[in-house]
Amino acid sequence: MSVTTDEFDIASPAEVRESNAVTLRKLLLIVPVMLVFCFSLVPLYQKICEVLGVTATRAIAQNSQVDTSRLVKLDFDATNRNLAWRFDPVDRHVEAHPGAIVTINYRVTNMTDRVTTGRATPSFGPSEAGLYFNKIECFCFSNQTLQPGETRDMPVTFFIDPKMPVAIEAIALSYTMFDITDATKKS
């Protein structure tokens, strides 16, 4: 940068080498700075979305305005499919305001003497209610592996979308537990 103007005397090779080395160091600095910038985009992206209100979490927060004007009756049920597990809801009947976050539990016991893996799928009655039943946390999101004789409480955390039609006054949610021990061993 030192040799740029009209008043310049012809620089000696050593001077040019010196100023080149300075420029090289300055330019090389850009590389780590931009690398850091790239990785900081990961949290930055999250932050910017939050500030601009474009994240999915934000959308949920808006939906979860609690509608205290009505109560929805919820019935929980459990079925076992070819699996020697005891599988029952701990909380069978709950009433909840749409928008309120609720946690209920299912209890499961492995009655066999071997390690087994199960996977639950939900079903709603009426089926339309499934569109408004938002699960935040559910044991049905992942495979459940139980040791012989093990008992476990498994939570479901959810809220009902306040946009749910008022015609739906009660929801029955039933989980069916499938034995997928063989399927998981294969893969």
Partner: protein
């Protein structure tokens, strides 16, 4: 073809310069040379070779699309071909070709003896070879080459086989090579100009490269970080882009296009520079609006950092984001328009002659503007939502890259061949090359606008029957276009071997230092004492 090219290159050079260079033999020399002219030539030969490798892939793609149904390649191979065609053309053909021009011309045009870091220069060239080998070899590993498109979007790119890892490594190495090249170019331009060669007296080609080099240093590390995250997602259990682990594939697109959009200007700004050298020379008038050209180039470079979202209007962006990226994108048309109008104003009432470089330059002006217009169409969000991922996009970016970047390179080669080799190319053949390219290019790519508007998606090996006619025409055009480029190769070789002797100032109005201060061919060592340009009317 491939091996013949490199072979002749080494020998042609050895003979041309043996008398003034008493170093090692030609084979040792291509590994050890630090001379900017040698390295410039090596870059140019390498990119010519890769141009044909990438072109062969394009022809395979077009052959498959000649008719509906699967005839030539399987879908997996087809996907790999579209992916590697793009990577080879971008990182193997266009970028190295411009770096070749930079190596050859920047020291000559600013009156420097060589590049600032000659050894690093040699390194940046030779890094490209292992990278290219990695990229090409990925076709032969289990799972084949990366098949996710050149953008490497997850989850496709987190799922592929070892070919994806090889591609990632290749891009890492090519990125390092281009960062080194750029550091070299910037340092040369900032520190090694001859006395009197002020920044605002530099030829436009030097200016565009200075700005491009800054773009490269700024965005290549972002690409490196981005594909590093991809690599750790693939092998080290991170979840940057893996939704199952809390990551977000959309974030990849944001990071990738933060690199990707400046990258497309990296591919075109040096082409603008070449245009700004050629058009005044053949219009026999100085470049119209030199200062505005400099500022327009800088504006394009700065704007390129804030428009990446227009590549991803359909990911579920909020309307505010879409509007921002839409208007920012349209804004780029302003400095680009300034450049186009300046070139037209340069030609206005000039004494124009239509030698091959000028034909390519005028072809560039017309076709690049057309590609720019389809780009404006795509920048409009509601239109983009229907045209996203269709052949309209393929037509758009081929209009800006083939008659844009590639024709500028062709024009540049024809323009400077007499200076580099001391011999003239065959003018008749050059004109044939231009007209065949111009016609076949439009036959290939103009129908793709129609295909896109009719809804044909990109990156598919098979398509619905109603697209058959235009695809057939496009394929015929593509083969004509591909084979027309052989004329160029023949012309370059015959020029080097047996062209007529060129004059010192072959183009009488070309006024940068290599034409006014140096004989043709340029001696192996030039400007060992810098020319004193103080008080002279240095040209642009």
């Amino acid at each position: 073809m491939a091996s013949a090219t490199t072979h002749d290159h080494a020998h042609g050079h050895g003979h041309g310069h043996d008398h003034d260079h008493h170093g090692p033999g030609p084979w040792t020399r291509i590994f050890t040379t630090t001379n900017h002219k040698d390295i410039g030539s090596m870059y140019l030969w390498f990119s010519l070779l890769m141009f044909f490798v990438g072109g062969a892939m394009a022809l395979l793609i077009r052959a498959e699309l000649f008719q509906p149904g699967l005839q030539v390649v399987q879908p997996e191979v087809f996907n790999s071909l579209t992916t590697v065609h793009a990577l080879v053309m971008i990182f193997g053909a266009v970028m190295p070709a411009f770096v070749g021009f930079a190596n050859w011309l920047i020291p000559l045009q600013i009156g420097a003896a060589d590049m600032a870091f000659p050894r690093m220069n040699n390194w940046s060239f030779w890094l490209m070879i292992p990278a290219t080998i990695l990229l090409m070899a990925s076709f032969f590993v289990p799972g084949g080459a990366a098949a996710s498109g050149w953008t490497l979007y997850p989850p496709l790119s987190t799922q592929g086989g070892i070919g994806v890892d090889m591609t990632i490594m290749a891009i890492h190495i090519l990125g390092a090579s281009s960062i080194m090249g750029s550091i070299n170019i910037i340092t040369t331009i900032l520190n090694m100009r001859a006395p009197g060669m002020t920044l605002m007296r530099m030829p436009m080609f030097v200016w565009t490269w200075l700005i491009t080099a800054y773009l490269i240093i700024a965005v290549m590390p972002v690409l490196a970080g981005c594909i590093t995250m991809l690599l750790t997602d693939r092998h080290f259990g991170t979840s940057f882009f893996n939704a199952a682990g809390g990551g977000d594939p959309t974030m990849f697109m944001h990071i990738f296009w933060f690199f990707g959009h400046p990258e497309v200007y990296i591919l075109i700004l040096p082409a603008f520079g070449i245009m700004s050298q050629i058009i005044p020379a053949f219009a026999r008038k100085p470049l119209f609006g030199y200062a505005s050209m400099v500022y327009a180039t800088a504006s394009i470079a700065i704007l390129s950092f804030i428009v990446w979202g227009h590549h991803m209007f359909t990911v579920g962006m909020p309307a505010a984001g879409q509007l921002f990226f839409m208007y920012a994108t349209m804004l780029i048309a302003v400095p680009t328009g300034v450049k186009i109008f300046n070139w037209i104003a340069t030609m206005w009432r000039g004494s124009i002659s239509f030698e091959t470089p000028m034909l390519f330059a005028i072809g560039f002006l017309c076709m690049f503007t057309l590609g720019g217009f389809s780009g404006l169409v795509l920048s409009i969000v509601p239109v983009d939502i229907t045209l996203h991922n269709t052949y309209y996009v393929v037509a758009h970016f081929h209009y800006v890259l083939f008659p844009g970047a590639i024709w500028a390179l062709m024009a540049g080669v024809y323009f400077w061949l007499p200076k580099w080799t001391g011999r003239m190319y065959n003018e008749t053949l050059g004109k044939w090359h231009f007209w065949l390219s111009a016609i076949s290019f439009n036959v290939t790519f103009f129908p793709q606008h129609f295909l896109g508007l009719a809804g044909m998606p990109r990156r598919i090996p098979d398509y619905a029957l109603q697209f058959a006619e235009w695809n057939m025409i496009s394929t015929i055009g593509a083969f004509a276009l591909g084979f027309s480029q052989l004329l160029f190769v023949y012309n370059v070789f015959s020029c080097i071997r047996s062209g007529e002797k060129a004059k010192e100032r072959q183009w009488d109005s070309a006024d940068s230092l290599e034409w006014t201060h140096l004989p043709s061919p340029v001696p192996y060592h030039t400007f060992e004492t810098p020319p004193d340009l103080r008080g002279t009317n240095a040209a642009h």
